[in-house]
Amino acid sequence: MSQQVTLTIDGKQVTVPAGWTVVDAARVANVHIPVFCYHPKLEPVGMCRMCLVEVGLPERDRATGEIVRNEDGSPKIRFFPKLQTACTTYVQEGMVIRTTTEQVARARKDILEFLLTSHPLDCPICDKGGECPLQNLTMAYGPGTSRFPYEYKLHLEKRVPLGDLIILDRERCIICGRCVRFQAEIAEDPVLSLDGRGRATYIITTSDPPFDSYWSGNTTDICPVGALTTTDFRFDARPWEMHQAASLCNLCPVGCNIMFDIRREPELGGRFAVQRVMPRQNEYVNEIWICDKGRFAAYHFAQYGERLTQPLVRENGKLRPASWREALERVAQAFREAGSGLVTLASGRLSNEDLFNLARLTDHLGGRKVLDTFLAGGEWTDKVGLGRESDLAALGEGDAILVMASDLEEEAPIFWLRVKEAAQRGATLVVANPRPTKIERHAKHVLRYVYGEEGKVWEALLAGASEAAQALARAENLVIFYGQEGLDLATSDAVARAAARLLLTTGHAGKPNSGLVAVWPRNNDQGAWDMGFRPVADLADTLRQVKALYVVAADPAGDDPHLAAALEGADFLVVQDLFLTETAQRADVVLPAQAYIERGGTYTNALRRVQRFFPAVPPPEGPQPDFAIVAALARLLDLNLEGRSTAKGFEALAAQVPAYQGLTYKDLARVEEQFPLVSREVLDYTGTAYPNGQGLGVVLPNAVERGETVAPPEAPEFPVRAFQGLLAVPITRLYDRGTLVAWSDTLAPRLPEEAWVWVAPETARDLGLQDDATARLEIGDLAYTVRVRVNPAVPGGVVLVPRSVGVVLFTPVAVHLKAVVPAS
């Protein structure tokens, strides 16, 4: 426990850790000190002077250093002659703060009047109006009338696009610098800056493309005025018109806690619709931030995508609408005939309740449960994953983090943030990747290797000789993140085993704040593993042999033409999805499912925190929730599954899956006071992020904590992968053209338009390619036209191919890349 300091604020005694600012201490004491430039997550700068207070300290005798006492024995307090900024004053023992005096009230009024001389006060048309710190503080502390008519105010440009997502209103900006500091300190993309001086100070963006950051939306939350607005929400609705539904982002394995703001939408025929995504505080997961992908794409696919509305069955070679009864009976018939020839292919996009029902149904028929992924190791994250009380915020001095084969910011942006923060607090960061990534800026040790030689890295780490290996072994707590960059299924399995071995042999397994984290490609891959779904080495081969194939929330045919061909081998194909995917077009029966914003459930994130999401908007007529469809189907096959409530479904799951033993929705709903205190009443302090009143979720106990004996696995044999010639490696980029994000109009300008690849300058030279050239990429029997981008950060002899951007590539393979000679 760090040192505690007791001070008095407006007569209230409060004890807080040393090093806190007076503003933070006052917030905890429930005394409001208004702020504009200060934000508890940012370094204080004292720019706006809104937080002026009277500060007094116990007087000390100059000669003896003793505290001077009044006659009644209380310490004599000497107040500073002038007001002090509470945000740059740190708490001290015996300090006395006064915020209610005439002098303070006067100062606040003057500061506000001063700010308003160059603020348009166009609240009626301002998107922040109704949740605006400037508005609220003016009402609470400001002058009642203005001595400054509109014409004499500063008039500046009202619409300055800072990039494709954020629009700046220069007139409204009060130059608090929060956005600039957020980008520099938290996002570490210092792409905004203050330009000019005095009254002619403006916010500008210095990057090309402008405001080039995955975090830009957060600046609109912390901007204390309506100067920054998002293109997604601009002029869409007023804050007081919307109601809220707590949810989770489902676009990456972080599982950010979000809030959907909902109102009727004329564009959608007056239906209730999500208007915007806001972060919801969970200091264990996303703090008060979310990335731009979550903010600008988390609901669009459900709301604006071309959804399936009714079951379809194939008749005379064509899909025709059918009733649920007819469709389900056909499926049941086929499944009964298939028996153990059934394969259920599900993806980690489904909720735990859906996956549990699917697993039960598949087991009932003796079928096989297949997970649609190329990253293995889920049983090891279950065995030696982060322990029950884990909190990434607790990692610091003396702890170590290893990040292997993952470009964290691109794959799970919030993990990048949390790991970076741990490193800033003093944790030793070791990064192992064949190419530099953004997280490397904070690495103590960088282990560079060649794609395919992951085994050598692990050999060295397990031998414990290198400095990095010793740092990991010695660490108080050790967290290992591994992703799938450059790996195939077998290698990722070996990586997970090696990591588990390291954790177990160095005594880290089973400790809270230590463990293995897989940076899964999907949001609930961990849940899918826990429910018993497993990836298969050769999916095409598996698909070719099935009697009946049940594809849920996956699109093998759309992902890969080889799988599309393999699907021909399946006797009977059932697809359960939101959209008429490539696979659905080939199906015998298509079952329309509800989107996650229309129903409730739970997801297990990569930290193995089980979190609940709630129904946000009424479902369209027709589609049903996945777990209910499965339950209805099961009933026809003489199996009783929970199909009415997710809470009951979760109870059934908790009774059977060891890690979830005894958990209920009530446990997931537990909340606690988290610092900084977020409230919709005190918007100036943390911004417009929502507090968490719905539940922080629960971290599952790992197998060691459950009392199971977990023996360290043998040091794994890494598959020999000697690549010949040019190697193509799929990499994950945050913005791809995946099914879920492609429906977002907001994000569209940021999504890649064409297939492209990265190559190193020397590789480009060898291949006779220029930067920006068009080339032909041949992968096996498939060929693509791609744009070549030369990037010195790419290892030689390698083509980096972004996933889901037009090229079908899931694991590294040897390829050919040839210049396309333009037809002249």
């Binding site: 166009d122 009626p124 048309i125 509109y150 004499y152 008039h155 009202k158 002029f235 869409d236 018109e241």
Partner: protein, 173 residues
């Protein structure tokens, strides 16, 4: 018996007297009764003299409405297609007259005096949907000589969404 007769005469005398009193009923709809100056009837959305809409789509009327009768959806003006001064205008503006209680709070809340209640009281519908007045039905006609909205306007001219308030104190630097 005389007693009963007396009662009859008494009653008839009231009838007889009232025949010479001034009439209070009107032959509606041929004859219309004048309304009081502050009568509150159906709304109109007003325009400026140049034809631009006063409404800036701020939804304050909807917020003030105790009957939840108003729905506003805003959109963004450009100088190419301008509906109202400033950046914001009402793309959708609806009042549901099955809900409205003619309290006039919306008029009070409006920062631009765009929505006003008139003396129009002839509201009858044969269909529930007809009771929802859309922006087209609520907007007053374009003043003579002015252009309809959207207008193409001179850049930088209509930046202030809120008009000068006449009671604003005179102040010169």
């Amino acid at each position: 018996m005389f007693k009963e007769l007396g009662a009859l005469v008494k009653g008839l005398s009231v009838t007889f007297k009232s025949m010479f009193e001034p009439k209070v009923t009107f032959q509606y709809p041929e004859q219309k009764r004048p309304v009081k100056p502050r009568y509150r009837g159906r709304h109109v959305l007003r325009r400026y003299e140049n034809g631009l809409e006063r409404c800036i789509g701020c939804s304050l009327c909807a917020a003030a409405c105790p009957a939840d009768a108003i729905f506003v959806e805003a959109a963004e003006n450009t100088d190419e297609e301008r509906y109202s001064p400033g950046e914001r205008y009402a793309a959708v503006y609806e009042i549901n007259y099955l809900r409205c209680i003619f309290c006039g709070y919306c008029e009070d809340a409006c920062p631009t005096q765009a929505i006003v209640l008139t003396d129009q009281y002839e509201l009858s519908f044969t269909d529930r949907w007809d009771a929802i007045y859309t922006k087209e039905r609520l907007l007053e006609p374009v003043p003579p000589g002015a252009r309809p909205t959207p207008q193409k306007t001179e850049p930088g001219k209509f930046v202030n969404p809120i008009p000068e308030m006449p009671d604003f104190p005179e102040w010169k630097p």
